[in-house]
Symmetry: C2
Subunit: 379 residues, 2 copies
């Protein structure tokens, strides 16, 4: 029987964000090649912008799959996806200089724009809002309160730098408090990776593989465990975080972190700050953590399921990233298929569990009301 | 029914290594406090040796559990461990300056010493040899050939720096070739972790937790995938690597690495060097990789098992590290119990699988012949 399918991890750059980046000439920015037949290029990291690169190799081409609601819905139709929860892709607004404009006003435009994109396809599109993290704390909190009132916003997305010093920074507390109070889940997503030297002197021979496949998930892993060690989940017991890429490596390393905490011999100020005996990693995973299913293997998906519970893993695609290398993305995407197959294999004997991960868990977490006939066909 | 239990991940510093470090005064070295009632302290990282630390906080106390075969066997008896495969703990010999002595001679002494320690308890102790990685390549290869002839040596242990530039360095090829020819598995173990700044400005508030619980496994993860991308396992198809700490995060991230390789748009010189179509990550895991079971959770152990097969995961303790924080280590160690429980839970319905991980897989991989009566009692 068909069951609704929801894509929890899918990105879009709405027109206000495209305008913002197109008006800039240093990272992050959008570069328009002289030949109008060529796609504009998105350059989000300084390493993408090396003067040694020819213009056609800088960053990545940014076509309609990055910007258009119609392209998103066409992709969904093609893959049998009932509903998508859109988020602005990195680098969000962390980099906005508050001395050259009001980050809160920029965030309001983008979030209104995202909400309007969803309104074009009611019952199929929802979104995570973006926060003006370089604004004053009260402005960030005000935007959290405001987006709660936008009909299609169901949470927020943040990178790992927080208001500049990491998600374990006490200056994040007013944000966590507001998000907890408003019942808005926080989608934690990587952007910075790891310092490139950790990948060794031959890293460029494998292109983007090491920073993308390891730097990204390891950044998320470190960010989450820093939050845990700083006692964020003890202070904000109702906070709900959704970790990108199945938590990076959180499900696999949770046991080792728990063991190292139990065996730490030095006294830990952070422990005292958390107000006594430290809450276990497993308790926090159980209470505060949801994971997307973007992990590309049944082994990974099962570990994610065991770490947080099968009702708290939510399937996703990471669209429009990882399009087919050969062809124009008109057929089925291999990156999508791999993550569907992982669910099918991990839940071979548990059809209800598979339906949960493929859609029902997201519907329940975010209170989505799908349109009539959106039963989904993803098999 | 009792079945033999083997500890694949257990360290010792034999007397020749203790003498070597005790004669030094910069890292790595052993510091003897003025008060002879205090334990000597092992200082292996520059951060352990900060002038701001009082002498009693520098490094870690190094007592008989680090150095004595009798202490090792007592620990084994206490925990029902039939046999142990000893390895020198980090930092091995990578740091030896060849201009101030012959690293190959030092390695010979240490390996003979390790072999002699095992001979004290035949049928219970075996070992992984240490390589003189700062020696000339032909001296390293000669030591590989030589240790193959030592009766208790069953493989070698290496860190991630190789002969100075990583395990993906082509200068490692003669070593891989010799190890493959001699049928000696390579135990890959972390030491350097990640640059400390990746753990953020509040990292010291959680003591050693972040570098130990994340830095160590992430170092192993990066080192292994660098080897994979450099085509090491395509050139040396019979090479057997045993990855510490269940591969760091290799089992969880293998799917993402495979997907990123499949979706890489730039041309990869490494691919051409490997001689054509790149071998899949899953094929390499199946063919070349064994994992220890030092992962402290059933979720992690199951992922490890799925990644390489249940016949290729080998239980271990990491003794003498992670002793009980309260008390003197005379009772059962929690760190040991956690890893036994992980096997018991992951193999709840598969007693043969549990026996494999707890001992039989190591016996088969390394050709161990246990003494009479060493049936093991680990439950």
């Amino acid at each position: 029987m068909a069951s609704p399918t929801v894509d929890i991890h899918t990105h879009i750059y709405p027109s206000s964000y495209i305008r913002l980046l197109s008006a800039r000439s240093s990272t992050p920015y959008i570069y328009a090649p002289a030949d109008p037949a060529e796609c504009p290029r998105l350059i989000i990291l300084p390493t993408d912008d090396s003067p040694s690169l020819p213009p056609s190799s800088r960053g990545r081409p940014i076509d309609g799959t990055y910007t258009s609601a119609a392209a998103k819905v066409a992709f969904m139709d093609q893959h049998g996806i009932s509903a998508s929860v859109l988020s602005l892709a990195n680098p969000w607004l962390d980099w906005l200089d508050p001395s050259s404009g009001d980050p809160a006003a920029v965030a309001r435009d983008i979030n209104d724009d995202l909400n309007a994109v969803c309104a074009l396809h009611p019952g199929r599109l929802w979104c995570f809002a973006t926060l003006p993290l370089s604004a004053r704390p009260e402005s960030i909190v005000a935007e959290i309160r405001r987006v709660k009132g936008l009909p299609f916003v169901r949470g927020v997305i943040v990178g790992t730098s927080g208001v500049g010093d990491g998600l374990d920074d006490a200056r994040m507390d007013p944000l966590w408090e507001a998000l907890e109070q408003e019942g808005l889940p926080v989608f934690v997503h990587p952007h910075y990776g790891l310092p490139s030297e950790v990948f060794g002197p031959r890293r460029e021979e494998s292109g983007h593989v090491l920073p993308l496949s390891l730097g990204f998930p390891l950044e998320t892993t470190i960010a989450f465990f820093r939050m845990y060690l700083a006692g964020v989940f003890s202070r904000f017991g109702g906070l709900k975080v959704l970790l990108a890429h199945a938590g990076g490596a959180v499900p696999f390393l949770a046991g080792r972190v728990q063991s190292c905490v139990r065996h730490e011999r030095s006294s830990l100020p952070a422990l005292a700050r958390a107000g006594g005996e430290r809450e276990s990693v497993w308790n926090v995973l159980d209470k505060n953590v949801w994971l997307d299913g973007v992990v590309y293997s049944a082994a990974g998906l099962r570990a994610a399921t065991e770490a947080v519970g099968k009702d708290k893993v939510l399937w996703g695609t990471d669209h429009p990233f990882f399009p087919p290398v050969d062809g124009k993305g008109e057929g089925e995407w291999e990156s999508v298929r791999t993550n569907v197959d992982a669910v099918r294999e991990a839940f071979r004997d548990d059809e209800n569990g598979a339906r949960g991960v493929l859609g029902m868990n997201a519907i329940r977490l975010l209170g989505l009301k799908l349109g009539p006939g959106e039963g989904g066909t993803l098999e």
